[in-house]
Assembly symmetry: C2
Homo-oligomer: 197 residues x 2
């Protein structure tokens, strides 16, 4: 039975953690990306389906390719971050279930059921996107998740020959520069969006 | 600039945390539910939209109503857990944006765009569902998320007069009984589902 984490940890994960628009000049290594994955992959997904596929853009060329798919204020954020990440999903995730969920024939639950495939991939790759954000924060890093981009452009640029791969959202990653955050938007009290029966 | 959390915290959040099928005989208070919300509400959502709506079933009557909507092995899990939670989403979330995202007219981005409303509600309420799981773990609690239920039945039972509310997934909550967990399903190495460019 676990105890609550201490206040410093709760702050780092939730209360003082913020979405960053710019980062300090401090590199993020591939080892750190692997450490994020090794935490985030432990988070639960339905039937252990793990539908997320992550594309980590660390080179200038890759970040330029991604920035060209984004709109508004997002291209300079993508270009200047140490790493910019595509959180994608594989609509053929169920091909991996004989290996990832070996004790039953879970692949057959999905074969031919496109609506279930789409909903399961979208829901669970979104869960994994949140685990990515939380794992990065747990490791002392910061993120800047974004929805302002053209999915079709990202898919054409990064997955031209893989029609089963679809982008969910994108994010920057690095050591956040506190000068680049906006004022915290309001967060509602429990009673507004929760009911207890 | 933050440092990585210590190993005990990373274990509690990710590495030794598990999905539980049953719970110890230890109550969870409404104060604890509010503490979960006060952490999870800080996690980022697109335009601070916070589309999730949580229904916390703490009474036997509420758990029985939810269990009647679930299939397979799920009804006894729902009934025996201290709390069973519906993570729902509000397809009218954008009505709250003048208040939650006050510096621009974000409501107008969504008005009349049903596809964007649906995708934004589903993606971001899923993110919030993951924040719920991580916040519960951070507070020393355990969860058992589930997709095996009839969405139509849950919506008819809990939101009969609120057609904008749709269920995303459900979960049990409590102090996990280690005798009720399954063997950990395999988790893939970085190279399998990640690419670095």
């Amino acid at each position: 039975m676990s105890e609550p984490l201490n206040d410093a940890a709760l702050d780092q994960l939730f209360r003082t953690a913020r979405t960053y628009n710019g980062y300090l000049d401090r590199a993020v290594s591939v080892d750190q990306l692997e450490s994020i994955w090794d935490l985030m992959k432990m988070g639960p997904t339905s039937a252990n389906a793990l539908p997320a596929r992550l594309i980590w853009c660390t080179s200038t060329a890759a970040k330029e390719k991604l920035a060209a798919c984004a709109g508004g204020a997002n291209p300079p954020k993508i270009l200047s971050a140490p790493v910019s990440v595509i959180i994608a999903m594989d609509l053929r995730f169920h091909d991996h279930l004989p290996d990832l969920f070996p004790h039953t024939d879970a692949k057959s639950w999905f074969d031919g059921n496109d609506a279930l495939i789409q909903a399961t991939a979208f829901r669970n790759s979104s869960l994994q996107g949140a685990y990515f954000i939380m794992a990065a924060r747990a490791l002392g890093l910061d993120t800047g998740p974004m929805s302002g981009f053209s999915p079709e452009a990202v898919e054409a640029a990064f997955f031209p020959d893989e029609p089963s791969l679809k982008v969910n959202f994108i994010s920057t990653l690095g050591y956040g520069d506190p000068n680049t955050i906006f004022e915290r938007s309001p967060r509602p009290e429990f009673g507004r969006f929760n009911r207890v029966f």
